[in-house]
């Protein structure tokens, strides 16, 4: 009778869940993904090829336009400058257009590819002078492969050797699949 009463009260059996969708994690399959880099020539990379390239690790921390912070992260990936070098690199007359299949696009100029010209904040979102920064094409976040939900397999990360350096999130393009070097 105790069991019967408890069952009827909902103390056993399935707990009702929110009707909102849950974000479920699953093993992401990026085997068919590739990155196209267009400059004076064109190269196409698989994720394995990118992972085989010399890697860089740094500290990343982003903030959205409404002040939501994302991070801090330990970001590992390939420097943007290393990816574009084989297709002709970039000159002061060029810009780098980085885009994703969801239609998002962001443009970086020569100075930014060198790590300059970014706005930086401390963790309290007060503006501070910018230390040397790098544009990383990140495939690992905090030691784990970047998940699709976090923008994987490849996303832009603005990194620093210093911790607690926050940059504007608009440049942190997720799901990158195309990098193009264009004249201004």
């Amino acid at each position: 009778m105790l069991v019967l009463f408890c069952y009827c009260a909902g103390c056993t059996g399935t707990v009702p869940v929110s009707l909102s969708p849950m974000v479920t994690s699953s093993v992401d399959d990026f085997s068919t993904w590739n990155l196209t880099v267009n400059g004076t020539t064109r190269l196409v990379y698989s994720l394995d090829q990118i992972r085989e390239s010399p890697a860089t690790t740094g500290n990343g921390f982003a903030v959205s336009t409404v002040g939501i912070k994302y991070g801090p992260y330990i970001c590992t990936g390939v420097l943007l400058s290393d990816l574009i070098e084989p297709v002709g690199g970039i000159t002061p007359d060029d810009q780098v257009w980085i885009s994703a299949p969801d239609g998002y696009l962001w443009v970086f100029d020569y100075d930014q590819v060198q790590g300059n010209g970014f706005i930086t904040f401390n963790e309290e979102l007060k503006e501070i002078p910018s230390p040397p920064l790098k544009i990383l094409m990140m495939y690992e976040q905090d030691g784990k492969p970047l998940s699709y939900d976090d923008g994987g397999p490849l996303r832009v990360a603005i990194i620093s050797d210093e911790k607690g350096m926050v940059t504007e999130g608009s440049a942190w393009v997720k799901w990158v699949d195309t990098i193009e070097i264009k004249k201004k």
């Binding site: 009778m1 105790l2 009463f5 408890c6 009827c8 009260a9 909902g10 103390c11 056993t12 707990v15 009702p16 869940v17 929110s18 009707l19 909102s20 969708p21 959205s64 336009t65 409404v66 002040g67 939501i68 810009q95 257009w97 969801d102 239609g103 998002y104 696009l105 962001w106 443009v107 970086f108 100029d109 930014q112 010209g117 706005i119 904040f121 979102l125 007060k126 503006e127 504007e168 999130g169 608009s170 201004k184």
Partner: protein, 349 residues
Amino acid sequence: MGKMGGHNRDQKEMNAPRIFWMLASFFLITLLCSSAGCISGTQQPKKVLKVVPAGSLLQPFAEVEKEFETLHPDVDVQVEGHGSIQAIRQVTELHRLIDVVAVADESLISDLMFRTDPATGTNFTDAFTPFATNAMVIAFTNKSRYADEITQENWYQVLSRPDVRVGFSNPMLDAAGYRSIMVTLLAGRYYQNATIFPVIIGSHFTPPLKAEITEGIETITLPEVLRPKDEKLVIRDGSIFVLSHLEAGGIDYAFEYRSVTEGHNLRSIDLPPEIDLSSPDHAEEYGKVRVILGFQRFSAIGQDRTGQPIVYAVTLPNSAPNRELAQEFADVVVRMAKTGGKGWPASLT
């Protein structure tokens, strides 16, 4: 005559403990069952209502959230702010299940959501409800240079001074950004002073931004990377960073929405309705200025922004998981917008 005709004393003594344990068991069961979820120790999870408003609505929507959760204690309203275009993209490009979207530019809903969702074959939404308007103003603080001198008549002269720093949000990311540019173009027409836009904004880029006039429409085309060449002009991704800079004394004046300025307890100069984008009566005039963004940040929307009266609108995506609750929430938004308050954009009525 001992056993017939009723209970004898021994039977009564035998039944008393039994009755006691039955009552004790009943009490225990009732106690256990009265706290639902007693085995796990947790309460029933609340229903989540996902709401995505434009950044300039975050302060008022915090009030709506509180009001709604008071009306519905079993609902957890989760508010996630974005720029208006990015707010819509959560539904149209990122395919998230959002219950309510509210934007600072009603035309974005028809442009971006009145189209077919390939996944369902129906539109992303079929309706929206305008609920508020706003006005562009010049925000400043007591620390601003010439704070005691600036007026509704001389604001553009003060902002033009070489030692005055001015800021606004990035037009690529925030409607307030391209509206700021529009205000200076409209000001040039209104005050018949063609130097207003170049001196305050245009001349601080390399190469300088110059308006092209075609068939009476004045157009500014922005570069792909919007980085001023000097410190007079400050552009930040979000309005909150512009205002933070203003409050810290890093800049003297900022173009901002009136509601946001009031919400931050900042001083402000109101602009004539002919240029502040607040009035449908001047829609035709507003339409004579245009800003072309440097690149198409989102493939689903073009790069042209033409001056229009500011109208906020709320919509329920057709994919909203909690449609009835979402409609109730939207109704509360419209109701509270009529009352308004500090930080609220002005009611349409």
